[in-house]
């Protein structure tokens, strides 16, 4: 167990350094200095030089990189020269909304996927299995923005149950909050739940072919008991690996979904910053999201070793 964590950590730190270099390197790709971009093309050369000197943009790359990373490690990502907001503060303000959406998406997707996968794998080749695998394959082929356009048209425009755009915070009342939460959540679940169902079904089918299942059947255990108590746990490996990867999907997906439905989360902050070429915000988000991703995957690895003792030694 300890060696597993240690091995992961020898990857963790170099990867984090590389990510921070990639993020910092973005500035180098943009033509022109920050002063030129913020003050516009009619600014005098002295004013541009003054502006660059004030925010330290005239220093060599590695000096800027070191001070940016040093401050980032202390939780300070600087103040954006474009939107004049503190980057760390902006991330902290928008994070809870995105985390709420992501957490609920994971929870609901698991609540849908686990029973469906068990039903499907337990009755392989039956009508139910065909409907579940066929249905998840079809939903899987729908990009998030296609689902967003469709559900908005049907649920918000035709049926008029929920608003098609906007966001009510919890303070506006639970009902109002849930109404604006429903559509974004539906879209994200439609992306994640079919992936979970497919992967878990495949693993369950493989586990069901093993000898210990046959011996459990021979001892007269019921199908439900075998499925839930014997087969589910050893089949969770891929699903757990996937939760780490789905986190990445959810951050990417939240960019589309939050701009589409006007949800004031991290995804909207990304889209807005890209639009206004606010690179400092994007750099900060890349760094923090990558850090969260690595931490989450480390956690998943540990969790996997707990679920499956075979993994504690191997790999």
């Amino acid at each position: 167990m300890r060696s597993l964590v240690l091995r992961r950590l020898t990857q963790f730190i170099p990867v984090l350094i590389l990510v921070s270099l990639v993020a910092a390197g973005l500035t180098e790709l943009i033509p022109g200095s920050p002063g030129q971009r913020v003050l516009g093309e009619f600014a005098t050369a002295e004013r541009i030089a003054d502006f660059d000197a004030k925010i330290g943009a005239d220093l060599p790359f590695f000096e800027r990189y070191a001070s940016w990373l040093g401050n980032a490690l202390r939780g300070d990502l600087g103040v954006s020269p474009i939107s004049r907001i503190g980057v760390s503060q902006a991330i902290l303000n928008t994070m809870p909304v995105t985390l709420e959406l992501a957490g609920l998406t994971m929870l609901i997707s698991l609540m849908i996927a686990v029973p469906l996968a068990v039903l499907s794998a337990g009755n392989e080749q039956s009508a139910a299995d065909r409907i579940i695998t066929g249905g998840s394959a079809a939903i899987l082929a729908m990009p998030s923005f296609v689902v967003a356009v469709s559900v908005t048209h049907v649920i918000a425009v035709q049926l008029g149950w929920v608003p098609s755009f906007g966001w009510n915070r919890w303070s506006a009342g639970v009902g109002a909050h849930l109404k604006t939460l429903a559509l974004p959540l539906l879209v994200l679940v439609s992306v994640v739940a079919p992936i979970f169902t497919r992967v878990l079904r495949a693993d369950l089918v493989a586990t069901l072919r093993q000898d210990f299942v046959l011996s459990a059947r021979a001892r007269g255990f019921s199908d439900a008991r075998i499925l839930f108590l014997h087969v589910l746990r050893p089949s969770l490996t891929s699903l757990l690996t996937l939760t780490g990867l789905v986190f990445g999907y959810l951050v990417g997906g939240s960019i589309v979904v939050e701009t589409f439905f006007g949800v004031p989360g991290l995804g909207q902050l990304v889209a807005r910053s890209i639009n206004s070429k606010d690179i400092l915000v994007v750099q900060g988000i890349v760094l923090y999201v990558a850090f969260a991703y690595l931490l989450l995957n480390l956690l998943v690895d540990i969790l996997q070793a707990l679920v499956d003792p075979r993994l504690r030694e191997a790999r």
Partner: protein, 289 residues
């Protein structure tokens, strides 16, 4: 996989092919995707309206006699834009997939052959790419460089490198200890010979069949970028861009958004079906993609 079973695999697959028909989904997939490829290749000779000039009044509903799929909000033919959009989406998707497959596949093979530091370095690079969510990575690239089609192609290919690399490595790893690689090494074969003549042929099939699944995912990512307005730039037609353009008119002219949605869905579904079929056939070993 030992040398003997490796040689037996293609023969077995052929036999299986004869006894089992192509599944219905894959059959449909081949037909639809084939149609899209033909359209993408021949679109400039097809008898359709020009994409730049209006074909009729704006927001014309689909009519068989006038405009089969209607017109968009400036009166351009939706049919023409869908067909030209097929060329954009497929060209970007295919180019990026091929680039990612070659670079990622070779990285995988090299890391198997050279082990040690090379393998560690390749792993670190792959994890770095994986740690940044792909859409966020692409948007950051697009923010720094303008979203031209070459920039889209290489940045899309970068996000496919880690899975291709891991797949090639998983398939080549077992061969490194096989008798035929050992025999080649004893004969004094160079690194290049072992990588390209011994490891590559056996890793190629699973990697190529996996590429069929990467292509639709890249079409979706390109669609998302264009939908957000950061991908293919107008006036070049793209399916994601068409959906974004038609979105404000969803109440009065829903077909403008639904037609590109349906075409995108059918294309992704087709490729997924073909890819799933190939994957089962060539036994792709999934390695924590």
């Amino acid at each position: 996989m030992s040398a003997t079973t490796a040689a037996a695999v293609p023969r077995q697959a052929k036999r299986r092919n004869r006894s089992h028909r192509l599944p219905l989904g894959a059959l449909f997939g081949v037909a639809w995707f084939g149609l899209m490829v033909v359209v993408a290749l021949t679109v400039q000779w097809l008898p359709i309206h020009d994409i730049a000039t209006p074909a009729g009044p704006s927001n014309l509903s689909p009519q068989w006699a006038r405009e089969v799929l209607g017109t968009d909000e400036v009166g351009r033919s939706v049919l023409s834009r869908i067909l030209y959009g097929a060329r954009t989406s497929l060209a970007i998707g295919l180019a990026a997939t091929l680039l990612g497959m070659v670079v990622g596949g070779l990285m995988g093979l090299f890391s198997v052959y050279f082990k040690g530091t090379v393998s560690w370095l390749v792993d670190i690079l792959a994890t770095t790419v994986l740690a940044i969510p792909s859409l966020l990575f692409l948007l950051a690239i697009v923010l720094a460089l303008e979203p031209s089609i070459p920039v889209l192609i290489w940045s899309l290919s970068v996000i496919t490198i880690p899975p291709f690399m891991r797949l090639a490595r998983a398939n080549a790893l077992s061969q490194m200890s096989s008798e035929y690689v050992e025999a080649a090494q004893v004969m004094g074969a160079s690194a290049g010979r072992i990588i390209f003549k011994e490891l590559l042929p056996n890793a190629a099939l699973p990697v190529i069949s996996y590429a069929v699944l990467v292509l639709p995912s890249l079409i979706v990512v390109e669609g998302s970028l264009s939908f957000l307005g950061f991908g293919v730039q107008p006036p070049t037609p793209s399916w994601g861009g068409m959906i974004a353009l038609a979105r404000p008119k969803l109440t009065t002219a829903p077909w403008g958004a639904f037609i590109p949605c349906a075409v995108l869905f059918l294309t992704v579904y087709s490729l997924n079906q073909i890819g799933d079929h190939l994957r089962v056939r060539f036994d792709v070993r999934d390695s924590n993609l």
